[in-house]
């Protein structure tokens, strides 16, 4: 069968737009009728649809009048967050239920559905959204509150109520938050105060415990140490001099004792009172000198004078009184044994005094050494105490700083709270009260009409596709060739008999009339719907 014509295999041609347009033309009434019918339904529905009206109010966010650098607000939550919180409060089940009962909303729905569902529906009908400022994109200056309902007047009233609720909630929230912040700072301040007191006590205890070793006492300790060392030197000097004096007096005593006769007489000549006076004067001068040397330097004028006086007195010849001249043996004079005894006694008493003085000086030196030792220990521990004290002081300083900061913050917070209570802080003001909607919002009549047409077109197309899928026909040469597997000799155009042509013409006229009629009906219905709405 195939040897006469070797037609090429039917190529797989891409589907052309022409194929679809032909299909649409073939199924035009399958598409047109549902489109017109549902379009008309759309017109009717647009007139009787239960439209919803949206009432909207605009609320302005007014910033606080007092500059921020004078009184800064202690409400740290951003407007968006606060708005979310306020919205949550306003859209709570309790509030919405109250509104539903107060305004008599959703009566029909309440008769068919539980309250919970109605509340959810109302919640979805309420919108609160922020409006950015014209200047900065991030600056939020206002927000809109809207409510969607079937009755425009009720929608307006409910929107006003919602706006009032939000404003009141905002004021309450801000005040509460501010008071909360102030209370917080108050409690923190108490803790800070307690902590500061503890730190002060700790510092005081430390200082008391290690008093004398503190760094601030180092200079005084060193001065005292220096002074004590000087005193020690003086004491040692005094001890040395006293020792020397003692030696002298002991020598003198020995001399006196060596002069003593077995009968109690003495070889010594009777004591010369002038000599005794001279010795006494020397002793007094020396004692005064030693006292001055403790306090003053050797160059001190009094010390120099005394030294000169002592030197002069020592250089001066020993005065003799007429009573003291003799051979050297003690003659029993009227005052001779008494003078020897008195000199010996005096010497012994002076020795005793010297001993006493030496003991006193030694005790004093020992005491001074002890004191010096203590002071040296104190001075040695001072660096350690300095470090320890620095830590204690630091803790104290921190507590003090913290306390001062808290005090300042509390003061600021109290100012801010006062500002909120007087409603001088950031506040909400209704810029546009709730509008009375004139035209429906959801859906609009145009949307209903277009939905009808769109559904009609979709249904029509679906029917057309269904028809094409179920009512397959041979439509092209390629199809025929592929089907028959024999070559196609010719494609003969459509020719109609006279009767067929008449029938065709009448059919076309009828189609055109029907189409015009449907268009006219659609236009009329559209106009009527437009004027009605």
């Amino acid at each position: 069968m195939k040897d006469e014509f070797q037609l090429p295999e039917a190529e797989k041609k891409p589907i052309q737009l022409r194929t679809y347009t032909r299909m649409i033309w073939r199924c035009r009434w399958y598409i047109a009728l549902p489109t017109f019918v549902l379009g008309l339904v759309g017109f009717v529905a647009a007139r009787h649809w239960p439209y919803l009206y949206r009432s909207e109010a605009l609320v302005l966010v007014e910033q606080q009048k007092i500059p921020e650098n004078y009184v800064s607000s202690n409400v740290v939550i951003s407007l968006e967050q606060r708005l979310d919180q306020m919205t949550e409060q306003v859209l709570s089940r309790t509030q919405l239920r109250r509104l539903i009962e107060q305004f008599g909303l959703y009566k029909e729905q309440l008769s068919r559905r539980p309250m919970e569902d109605v509340i959810d529906r109302m919640r979805s009908a309420i919108k609160v959204h922020l409006v950015s400022g014209a200047g900065k994109a991030s600056a939020l200056t206002a927000f809109r509150v809207s409510f969607l309902y079937s009755n425009p007047r009720v929608a307006q009233r409910v929107t006003n109520e919602l706006t009032s609720l939000i404003i009141d909630e905002n004021l309450k929230a801000r005040t509460q938050q501010s008071i909360g912040a102030t209370n917080f700072f108050e409690s923190e301040l108490d803790r800070g105060r307690q902590d500061l007191a503890n730190q002060e006590e700790a510092l005081r205890a430390y200082k008391m415990r290690y008093i004398g070793e503190l760094p601030e006492q180092l200079s005084s300790n060193l001065q005292m140490l220096d002074s004590l060392q000087n005193q020690l030197r003086a004491a040692n000097g005094a001890i040395d001099r006293a020792e020397q004096q003692k030696v002298y007096l002991e020598t003198l005593r020995t001399q006196y004792r060596s002069l003593e006769m077995p009968d109690g007489t003495t070889k010594l000549a009777p004591v010369d009172p002038a000599v005794t006076a001279r010795a006494k004067t020397l002793q007094e001068l020396r004692q005064k000198l030693s006292e001055l040397e403790i306090v003053y330097t050797p160059g001190y004028p009094d010390i120099v004078n005394l030294k000169e006086q002592i030197a002069a007195l020592e250089r001066a010849p020993i005065p003799h009184s007429p009573e003291s001249s003799g051979s050297g043996t003690s003659a029993p004079a009227s005052g001779g044994p008494r003078l020897y005894e008195s000199a010996l006694l005096e010497t012994q008493s002076r020795l005793k005094a010297i001993d006493l003085e030496i003991q006193n000086n030694k005790r004093e030196a020992a005491s001074l050494k002890k004191q010096i030792g203590v002071l040296e220990q104190h001075v040695g521990m001072t660096p350690v105490r300095e470090q320890q004290l620095a830590e204690v002081t630091r803790n104290y300083q921190n507590s003090r700083t913290n306390y001062q900061n808290l005090l300042e913050k509390k003061r600021q917070s109290e100012l801010a709270t006062d500002l909120e209570k007087r409603q001088e802080g950031e506040r909400l003001r209704v810029l546009d009260p709730a509008s009375l909607p004139k035209t429906p919002d959801v859906p609009t009549p145009i949307e209903v009409i277009l939905a009808g047409w769109a559904m009609g077109i979709c249904l029509g197309l679906a029917l057309a596709i269904l028809r094409e899928m179920t009512n397959r026909r041979i439509r092209s040469e390629d199809e025929l060739t592929k089907l028959a597997k024999i070559p196609n000799l010719a494609c003969f155009p459509n020719v109609l008999s006279a009767r067929e042509r008449r029938s065709y013409v009448w059919r076309r006229v009828l189609e055109l009339s029907l189409a015009l009629g449907l268009i006219a009906v659609s236009v009329g219905a559209g106009l009527k719907t437009y004027w009605k709405l």
């Binding site: 040897d3 006469e4 014509f5 026909r473 089907l483 000799l489 459509n494």
Partner: protein
């Protein structure tokens, strides 16, 4: 197997043969006789039925398609015998009669001697396309009521020989099963280069099967947008025993081709008118 060209020269009626009736004895069985000179001539205007596009006076794109089809059939003839051609379809109302009539006229225009047989004795329709009355036709011929010569008509001015179906019969299969039908067909194929047979549809009726079994080839007609693929497939399968020369897609309106044809013809007409004007 008869050689086409040799047989053609022998079979092609020359003037001597036309003038006298003779039965052809070519070493085969005797055929029904046919005297083409004695057949009735009838005037037929192609414009009677708008579906006849050949020689209608108006340029029609279908004429070119028919010429193309005619050319292809001639091409097939070069490799195999092709005299008797059945034109049928799967189901009714697919345009097989229109195609058969127009094809016969086209072949007749190419100077071939063509016989169109309306093989649809159930519902004859071809006569209407020529604006003729139903004659004795094939049914009378097969019933031996009339001879072939008496049944065939020659249509003028196309020169097409035409054998209508005759009076409708209830069961044409009986007539087709008679040996006379084969004789008639053979006689016709001996006298004509082309015997185009319009038959009833193949699926509902058996007529086309019988006719196709004694014919050289079958052409199946499908109608664009009307014929179902499964029906056509079934028709093809049912013609398994016969030689399917090809298919014709009827009612296929290719807008581009139509516009090309119309533009081309219009331009041609314009040139012709200008030439005539100059003359």
């Amino acid at each position: 197997m008869i050689e086409l060209f040799g047989r053609e020269r022998q079979v092609r009626p020359d003037s001597a043969t036309e003038k006298g009736a003779s039965s052809l004895a070519l070493g085969t069985e005797a055929y029904e006789s046919l005297d083409c000179e004695r057949v009735r001539r009838e005037r037929c205007l192609a414009s009677v039925d708008r579906r006849v596009v050949v020689d209608s006076g108006d340029a029609h794109a279908g004429e070119e398609k028919l010429r193309l089809m005619s050319h292809r059939l001639h091409h097939i003839r070069q490799s195999r015998r092709l005299r008797t051609l059945v034109v049928s379809s799967g189901v009714p109302e697919e345009g097989k009669t229109v195609v058969a009539v127009n094809l016969a006229l086209t072949l007749a225009n190419s100077q071939d001697r063509v016989l169109l047989i309306d093989g649809d004795m159930r519902r004859p329709t071809t006569q209407g396309m020529f604006g003729l009355e139903l004659g004795a036709g094939l049914s009378a011929c097969l019933s031996e009521e009339r001879s072939l010569t008496e049944s065939v008509r020659r249509l003028e001015p196309s020169g097409l020989y035409y054998l209508d179906a005759g009076k409708p019969v209830a069961n044409p299969v009986e007539l087709l099963q008679k040996p006379r039908f084969v004789d008639v067909l053979k006689t016709c194929s001996a006298h004509f280069e082309w015997v185009i047979i319009d038959t009833p549809p193949v699926i509902p009726f058996a007529d086309a099967h019988f006719i196709a079994s004694v014919s050289d080839a079958v052409v199946l007609v499908a109608r664009a947008g009307i014929t179902r693929p499964e029906e056509f497939e079934r028709a093809v399968r049912s013609m398994k025993g016969a030689y399917l020369a090809g298919t014709v897609l009827n009612g296929y309106n290719e807008p581009e081709e139509r516009s090309y044809y119309a533009h081309y013809v219009r331009e041609g007409s314009g040139v012709k008118r200008r030439r005539e004007g100059k003359e």
